[in-house]
Amino acid sequence: MLTSRKLVHCACSCSQQQNIVRLIYKQKSLAVSCVAQRRCLSSPPNSDLSKGSVNTPTNQPPESDGLGTYVKKEKLPKLTEPIAKNFFLGKLDPRFLVYPQLSKDELDQLNELIAPIEKFFNSVDSKSIDVNAKIPDDVLQQLKDLGLFGLQIPEQYGGLNLNAAGYARVGEVTGRDGSIAVTLAAHQAIGFKALLLAGTEEQKQKYLPRLATGEQVAAFCLTEPSSGSDVSSIQTKAVLSEDGKTWHLTGSKIWISNGGIADVFTVFAKTEVKTPEGETQDKITAFFVERAFGGVTNGKPEDKLGIRGSNTTEVYFDNTPVPAENVIGDVGGGFKIAMRVLNSGRFSMGSSGAGVLKALITMTAEHARTRSQFGQKLSTYGLIQEKFAKMATTAYAMESMAYLTTGVLDTYDDPDMSVEAAIVKIFSSEGCWVCVSECLQVMGGLGYMKDYPYERYLRDSRIMQIFEGTNEILRLFVALQGLQHAGKSTKELLKKLRNPLNNPGLLFKTMWKKSKGQSVMVSKAQSLNEDVHPELEQEAKMLAAGIYSMSGAVEDILSQFGNKVVNEQMKLRRIADIAIDLYAMTSCIGRASRSYCIGLRNADHEVLLTRSFCYEAEQRIKRNIYELTPAKMAEREIDDTNRQIAETIFKNGGYAAQHPLARNW
């Protein structure tokens, strides 16, 4: 990152002598917190990856043999300020406008790793997987041989030890077949992730080597018939035997990816826990269950709309004995583990979605360049061009967000990126759905045929909005996390704002500021344009203005509703949408600025993509802000209108308007 920053400024400020001084000064203060990303894939360049050497990166002596060699820091720094949550306070640390990058060694190794995977995926027959609703055994075996079942498992357990960026990059390739991507994700992104995050050394040593090779496949058993998004209401029970050595698990889980092929399961069940006060409470505990323990059965594979090749079944546990040492984490601490697992897996959806989109854009562009209608190629028509521009812009934003997130994940020590990961998931799942549909549209009738892969991609991409937390739940999550962060940080001011009669001075100040469209919380918008290439000055200003107006909206909403804001879901949705757009803008601007400064191929194209995206995002933000502002709401009350419509529908048990041909007498 340090290098990139230097490059940024060398490239952009040669014409601006005055700026240089200021920028270099800034850079010094930032340098402390900037470290090169060298966390994973971190075996020295000469060590052979395929052998899976057991050297742990932390134990390795630093190479400090003289000048010119970079000395790696022992410990990663802590992330002190959140990124997306700070949007709610009207702040963005300019250091996050510096787009993260891998070191050259890491990148080379990653590319070396990707090449065979890419080659393999070009030969996969996705159509037959979709039709037969099964991934053939030989394909699975090849995936295992490529090491795709142990991407993030440390080398000492035989995995590839990829960092977040590497994992996302592989996801880009595996995403080309939805069924395979989901099978892999169910195995490693959630299946045994709990073990990686919270397992003991013994557990890791016992299970991880076989999981890394794919000898054992894992599944994640959380969802139940009665509890989908509401995790804490699960019914599966685990009872400890009298000798305290064995748990007995009973219950049924539904829609378990890999449920039929998995050998080990991360199962969440309610257990009785004694509170310090002596009461017994039902708390969730995570168990690592082998199928071999007995009492584990599964239903037949579900017939699904998309990702048909992935194996989704019900899984039943009938008094399954689980040894006490297979409890993951603490007894009663399962809920936190489940949340950590889910939060940590989401970021990769951005890159895999972008991977699919990029492949589809290539195919569709080929069609547009070759097909003639009315004597001209499709690619010359404005409506088609607009579609391609939108698709490319969305894919660009998806990628940028995903790799900004992975960059932060890899640079800092266990940073809390749950909000950002949720943002990536929401944006990319929806972007994917819209853009795949647009690709199909460009193909016209061909796209609708089963001979072409478009309809399959469309079906496959639909699941992204549903699984790993539905987009609705995640929007509330983003908004509530951010609002709570903002509320707690500015509690004193908001208390006064909520009580204007006792603070007349503030009341007048508020009125004055509001009349000028300013917020009280933040005195003025940041000037972020100094941190990016001048080519992106306008976009940086848009971003700064967006962040500033967000703080105003947050301040309004918090002072108006206080704790009751949790019930204002329609407003929360808008707040979340603004946060999503801001995060996307941040990552796009940062990436385009970096590309332009270091002169990547088609960097000017990236600038245009960013420009287009920022324009759209600004429009969306403005609209959301408009609908959030109380003064405007009084005239429109669109939320109230919609609420009433919905209430009537539920009261009538369906569509309530009379038939257009109905008569009253």
């Binding site: 998004s229 206080g562 704790n563």
Partner: protein, 498 residues
Amino acid sequence: MFIEGYKMLKLCFKKCGALCINDALLASIKIVADTPVQPVAWNTWNDKRKQLSFSYCQSRFYQVRRLHVSAIINNLKDKKQSDPIIINKKPEDVMVQSGNEESVTETERTTSSAVGKPQIFKQAQLSQPLVRPSSLPDHDPKRITEESRKLERKARAVFDKIATEKGASKPTFIYAINEYISKDTLYRRGALEFIYAGLSEMKRFGVNRDLTAYKALIQCFPEEKMIPRNVWQVEFMHYPRQQQCGIDLMEQMEQSAVIPDDEFGVLLKNRFGSTAHVTRKYRRMMYWLPKFKNMNPYPVPYDMPNDPIELALLMLKRMCVDEKTKYNVIKTVEMEDSPEEDTFIVSAQSPTQQQLISQHKTGQPLFVEGPFPVYMRYVGKRYFLLRGEPNINSLMKQKKLEEEEEKEENLFEWVNFYEENYKEIKPVLSVHEQEDSTILGLCITGTSTKSSVVAWIRWLEKSNPNLAQTPVLFKLISPNSETDVIGDNRPFTELKKL
């Protein structure tokens, strides 16, 4: 108060005439007379006289005032002196009495329930010979000639004859009208009296809620003859009695919830023109009534089912807000070996309520209360409920939580719904756990007797084993006593103290 008195008076006059007037009635009439008439647009009428007679509300007001205050009081005075309206001891009338017993008893029932003091009327009716009131309305008594009375009696006799010979039904009602029209083709003499007679007979023929019957009736008036030719005729009520008759007809439609349609409008227009008062009333009705028709967010079927079980189901479904409520029909004969009576019980209980019973501490009693009245359209029934004391602990906890949330120091310290301890902190109360009590089940029985309700509880014990161990207290009120306000001594008053 006014409405009650008004209904009572109208009934008295219609059915008993001046014969049953006594001190109690006079007192209530005084109340009516003293109570200001307040239709919706009272002030509008007072302030903006320029709009007089044009708006619907004002015309309503006209009628209301004419009907209820001045006319009634005037009539009363007249009646006290000479009884000009009612006493017509012609032989036809006596005959009518014997055939009309059913409707009289029905009147008696409704009157007694409306007034609450049935003895007075019974005595009055017993002591005097039964006389049926004239069907001619009494809002302008001086205009009613002896000739007109004669025509009215004749018209009623026609209806009576057809009713006794061919039975009272819709076809015979139409037949009676056709009889009249075919006999009097040219002048339609006595059309007005015939229509009034027909209006009063409609209930007996069971057509009072049938639009076609009203259409048939309005066709008794001759076409074209009564159409006003100029503005003056329009404003000064051309053919006033006929127009008033049309208005009365539509008033009766209104009261029986019958909405006219376009055809009815054409019939009216052909008889009175498009500008007459009666046609204006039609237009106002067509403006308002279709709007009112669909105003009820919980629509009730236009014709209520005759089967009491279906009716009870309908009423319970209307009362139970829980979507998951299960409805069961139990016959006492099938349920028990030696039932105290042969009746049905319709029970409504949801799984949530069953769960609440299973969580109930058996030491504390549950209550069966009722019968409480429930009405759908014109049908009334009585229901019983099984309830427990309110879940004070949870309610208090919730209330305290709400107050805690309001406190400034807890600002923004909320627990998000996706966090683990969300539900422990926020108890979710079911819809059945209300502040005054926890409702555990509803029922309507065929007889509304205590034994049938006891049978219901015995039946509930099968699906709610906890109920068998719990003392159940029956707090039943006798059907005739007034409904008490229950429960200021209940624990939920504690909530208010907070």
